[in-house]
């Protein structure tokens, strides 16, 4: 693409692009750089959002609505949110941005081998506190979106989410709030037969020799949204053995809408509910890719993954998101991290160490 100031293909992004493209897009770029299988796609920079606000003359509406709002007054904040959202939904996307999206989408279509391939459109938050921002509701996901028009609508909907009542309140609470901005990730959809998340450590015990996998049928929505109790596996990184497993009854799943757009929630047929949704090969492939991601980033990762329906593994395994594990407590507080082997053996026999206190 000759001139594309507002977009970039995912594989060209690196972590340094986070300020412009947001954390999600940047980390997908890093994954691709690390040779991790990530569905192809592209990202919109915050400049696209800024162009949208500037060219449609929305800034005045936004400033007006926010200046008349009383922080802490729920009705007032909701009113401002409504005013801004309405205005944004009716504003056109700048032609230059729309043309870039169309061209990038055409590339995805070519790679996918179909004219209007389904894509996932997600917000990609910007800023050091993006984790917390995510928590504040600035994360939107639109699945199974087809056609340039609908992609543009979904992109706009992501932008709109910047002005949800929660997001407005959150920024207001921060005081000297930065100008709101957001990147967007557009990625080819994987029609997942099974999907879920994995931690490249046991998040409960902190054991780094384990990979903890949660898996359920269908698209990842059900697991991420906590709508099902997924199969819960603990797998040894070293041998690939399943060390512990709890198979739960997985009663619902998300599948692509038969109409072609969006995802729908359906009941899982009885015969599939109580069986483990991952076979040995799939587990091995996940462990493999999980270790690769962890090695690339150099720290324990919390990874969203999907396995394409009816695909064989490892070819069908895709990573759709990865971020550092932040919630894990460091493995065992008073662990004997190192020391003289012989005095440790002595301690086994009840010889108290010089520092006192028997292990």
């Amino acid at each position: 693409m000759a001139e594309a100031p507002h977009t970039q293909t995912l594989d060209r992004l690196r972590s340094a692009d986070e300020p412009a493209f947001g954390g999600k897009s940047a980390s997908l770029g890093e994954l691709l750089a690390g040779g991790i299988p990530v569905p192809p796609g592209f990202a919109l920079s915050t400049s696209a959002f800024h162009a949208f606000v500037r060219e449609s003359g929305l800034q005045r509406t936004i400033d007006d609505a926010l200046s008349h709002m009383t922080i802490g007054d729920v009705d007032s904040v909701s009113g401002a949110s409504r005013t801004i959202s309405e205005a944004m939904r009716h504003a056109p996307i700048p032609t230059a941005v729309e043309e870039e999206i169309a061209a990038r989408y055409a590339d995805v279509a070519e790679a996918a081998g179909e004219p209007e391939p389904p894509v996932a459109v997600r917000s990609s938050a910007v800023g050091e506190d993006s984790e917390e921002a995510t928590f504040a509701g600035q994360q939107e996901t639109y699945l199974w979106v087809r056609g340039v028009g609908h992609v543009c609508d979904a992109v706009r909907d992501c932008w709109v989410s910047l002005f949800s009542p929660t997001a407005i309140s959150y920024r207001a609470r921060l005081g000297a709030a930065p100008e709101p901005a957001m990147g967007v990730t557009v990625q080819l959809m994987v029609d997942a037969g099974v999907s879920g998340v994995m931690f490249t450590c046991n998040p409960v015990s902190g054991d780094r020799s384990m990979i903890a996998i949660n898996a359920s049928w269908g698209l990842g929505l059900a697991v991420v949204g906590g709508e099902v109790t997924p199969d819960d596996l603990l797998v040894s990184k070293v041998t690939g053995e399943v060390v512990r497993e709890h198979i739960h009854s997985k009663e619902l799943e998300y599948v692509p809408d038969p109409g072609g757009r969006g995802a729908v929630r359906v009941d899982v047929p009885a015969e599939r509910r109580d069986v483990r949704c991952l076979d040995e090969d799939a587990i091995a492939a996940l462990v493999d890719v999980g270790r690769k991601v962890e090695r690339y980033f150099g720290s324990a990762q919390d990874i969203e993954w999907a396995i394409a329906r009816d695909a064989s593994v490892p070819e069908g395994v895709y990573i759709v998101q990865s971020r550092p594990v932040t919630t894990t407590k460091p493995a065992v507080a008073e662990k004997p991290a190192g020391g003289d082997a012989l005095s440790m053996v002595m301690a086994t026999f009840g010889v108290k160490s010089a520092g006192g206190g028997q292990r």
Binding site: N202, S205, G206, D207, R208, S209, M210, L234, S236, K237, V238, T239, E241, V242, V243, R244, E245, A331, V332, K335, P336, A337, G338, G339, D340, A341, L342, M344, V345, M346, A347, T348, F349, G350, V351, K352, R359
Partner: protein, 612 residues
């Protein structure tokens, strides 16, 4: 039959356990100090006694009590008096309805613990530092002792003393019989002293590595730690390795036709003797016998666990199996290269997951464990198998002497007398031999033996509770933890099982889950009953059980940790195993369907029926 009256703690009081009907007077088989005496009721009820079903799964014959006293003498000497392990002295034992319960003697005074710590550090440090040299010395001591034992002659009592007595070259037969008996007993004691010289330190190094791994990687499976340490070319595997070699040789030289299912060793030997190739094979077999056929058919602590030399049907059954497998085109070799690779893969895999500072400690602990572990694995062959099976045979010679003189109906009956009663019988025998008087022994001993045999048979029907007395607040004794796997968790599990229930917890010894029909096997002579695909439920296993692991689908044991024989073999065969359940043989009945979850260490009884 066990009383379920709770004692002060969670287990039945040993004093409330009733004598089985028809077994009145059983106590006289055992020394007074091994009984729960009224005079020390208060103290003994307050202690935690667990059934040592790992070493004593069956009721104890009177003579076999030697194999309680001597080992605990050995543990106590080394742990308490030589190394002075700071928090623990030795092990006390008691007998209830023929079954052996043990407990540790803790050191509670902190000053005493500190004092012992100094002794321990100095002496244990010396051992670890000079391990290879000390182990080398140990081996030559054991080989010397075994040689002495095999050369020890049990003399007969002749009509007239030989000329050698007249010439002064030889003592009188009275003296020689008495001397041989006391030397035999002392050699047994000495073996048990050797047995424990290095064992505790060997286990201690391993236990430290395990604890270190778990502190850093809390979910690491026990079997992975064991696999990282386990030896590859261990003496224990040699006997079966030799059988596999002989099986291949039989096929190569075309004599495999002699090894047909259902034939006795004598029949096979007879056919082999008819051809030159067959005779050559038999010659090769003779070379293998010393020492590899000193393999025991059981874990060695009972007189009835014989060696392969005594019961050739056991190695011959293996030979027939190996030959049939080879003929069917199967691989019978232990995949040592694969085991070695797996061992390195595990060690490297876990190592690279540790912090840099921890990696150095891991290396040191792993190296120390690997250095000391050959002893842990190999002492069994020298002590428990080779020496002990030979030693029991020496006792049999005294039994034969007593039987020839009418004191016993059968030489084997000697094992139903205590070692002191045998001494007493020999006293009378040699006395009346000398005096020419009429001995009372022939009328005195046989009814006693008959009564005791009857009592032991009845004892076999009893299911001993896993523990008696008061549950400890915390298990402090490193030996109990390392050798028997008596952890706080295990004690709690047992306590909860006193309530009963349809599932049992144990150590996850070999991963995988299967459902199958249970076969409860109480002793090695019942292993012939096991059918293809059944789940083996037993007290514990030993190398003698080897032939059945290719038949069964999983193993559940009462006692043992992840380094127990059953655990090691199941990992090799890829069978799920749950060990140390406490009372699988008491809870599960033959014929019941069970689920064995070797990954999580849980056994579930799926239905209530069984013919047991």
């Amino acid at each position: 039959m066990a009383s379920t009256t709770p004692a002060t703690g969670s287990f039945p009081s040993p004093y409330e356990v009733e004598t089985l009907p028809g077994c009145e007077g059983w106590e006289e088989m055992y020394p007074y100090y091994g009984r729960f005496l009224e005079s020390r009721r208060e103290a003994d009820e307050g202690r935690f006694w667990f059934w040592n079903s790992m070493h004593f799964p069956e009721p104890m014959p009177a003579f076999d009590v030697v194999c309680i006293d001597s080992p605990y003498q050995g543990i106590g000497s080394w742990q308490n008096r030589v190394f002075a392990v700071p928090p623990a002295m030795g092990i006390d034992w008691r007998v209830v309805n023929g079954y052996i319960y043990i407990t540790g003697n803790p050191v509670l005074d902190p000053e005493k613990v500190a004092e012992r710590a100094e002794v321990f550090q100095k002496r244990a440090g010396y051992y670890y530092e000079n391990w290879d040299e000390l182990y080398g010395k140990w081996r030559s001591n054991m080989e010397q002792l075994i040689k002495e034992l095999s050369e020890l002659e049990v003399p007969d009592l002749p009509e007239y003393e030989p000329d050698a007595v007249v010439s002064g070259e030889q003592n009188t037969s009275f003296y020689r019989v008495q001397d041989a008996y006391s030397r035999t007993l002392r050699m047994g004691d000495l073996m048990w002293q050797h047995h424990f010289e290095l064992l505790l330190l060997g286990y201690g190094a391993y236990a430290t590595l395990a604890e270190f791994c778990k502190a850093n990687l809390p979910d690491i499976p026990d079997q992975h730690i064991a696999q990282m340490v386990a030896g590859i070319d261990v003496i224990l595997f040699r006997p079966d390795q030799e059988l596999r070699r002989l099986a291949r040789l039989a096929i190569e030289t075309g004599v495999d036709g002699a090894f047909r299912q259902g034939r006795t060793p004598e029949e096979i030997d007879a056919e082999l003797a008819t051809s030159e190739a067959g005779r050559a094979w038999l010659e090769e077999l003779e070379k293998v016998k010393e020492p590899w056929f000193h393999m025991a058919t059981g874990d060695g602590l009972y007189h009835f666990y014989r060696s392969w030399l005594d019961e050739p049907s056991i190695p011959y059954a293996s030979l027939i199996g190996h030959i049939a497998a080879l003929q069917a085109g199967q691989e019978i070799e232990r995949p040592t290269e694969q085991i070695r690779e797996e061992r390195d893969r595990l060690a490297n895999g876990y190592r690279e997951l540790l912090d840099e500072s921890a990696q150095a400690t891991f290396d040191d602990l792993l190296n120390l464990s690997r250095k000391v572990f050959p002893y842990v694995e190999e002492h069994k062959f020298f002590c428990d198998y080779w020496f002990l099976t030979s030693w029991w045979n020496k006792i049999r010679e005294f039994g034969a002497l007593l039987a020839r003189n009418g004191f016993l109906e059968d030489g084997e009956d000697v094992f139903h007398l205590t070692r002191h009663e045998v001494a007493s019988a020999l006293d009378e025998l040699t006395l009346t031999w000398a005096t020419g008087g009429k001995p009372a022994g022939p009328t005195h001993w046989p009814p006693i033996v008959a009564r005791r045999k009857e009592i032991l048979e009845r004892f076999k029907e009893w299911n001993p509770p896993p523990a008696l007395g008061t549950a400890p607040e915390k298990v402090m004794d490193p030996t109990l933890i390392m050798l028997w796997g008596i952890t706080d968790e295990r004690v709690r599990d047992w306590a909860s099982q006193v309530e009963g229930g349809s599932s049992l917890n144990g150590a996850a010894a070999s991963p995988g889950t299967i459902e199958g029909v249970a076969r409860v096997v109480r002793s090695v002579d019942q292993i012939g009953d096991v059918r293809e695909g059944e789940v083996l439920v037993c007290g514990s296993t030993s190398p003698a059980w080897a032939p059945i692991f290719s038949k069964i689908s999983a193993t559940v044991t009462d006692v043992g940790g992840v380094m127990s024989h059953a655990a090691i073999v199941c990992r090799e065969y890829g069978l799920p195993a749950v060990v140390g359940t406490g009372r699988a043989t008491a809870t599960i009945k033959t014929g019941q369907r069970v689920r064995v979850d070797g990954t999580n260490g849980v056994v579930t009884i799926l239905d209530g029926d069984g013919d047991g």
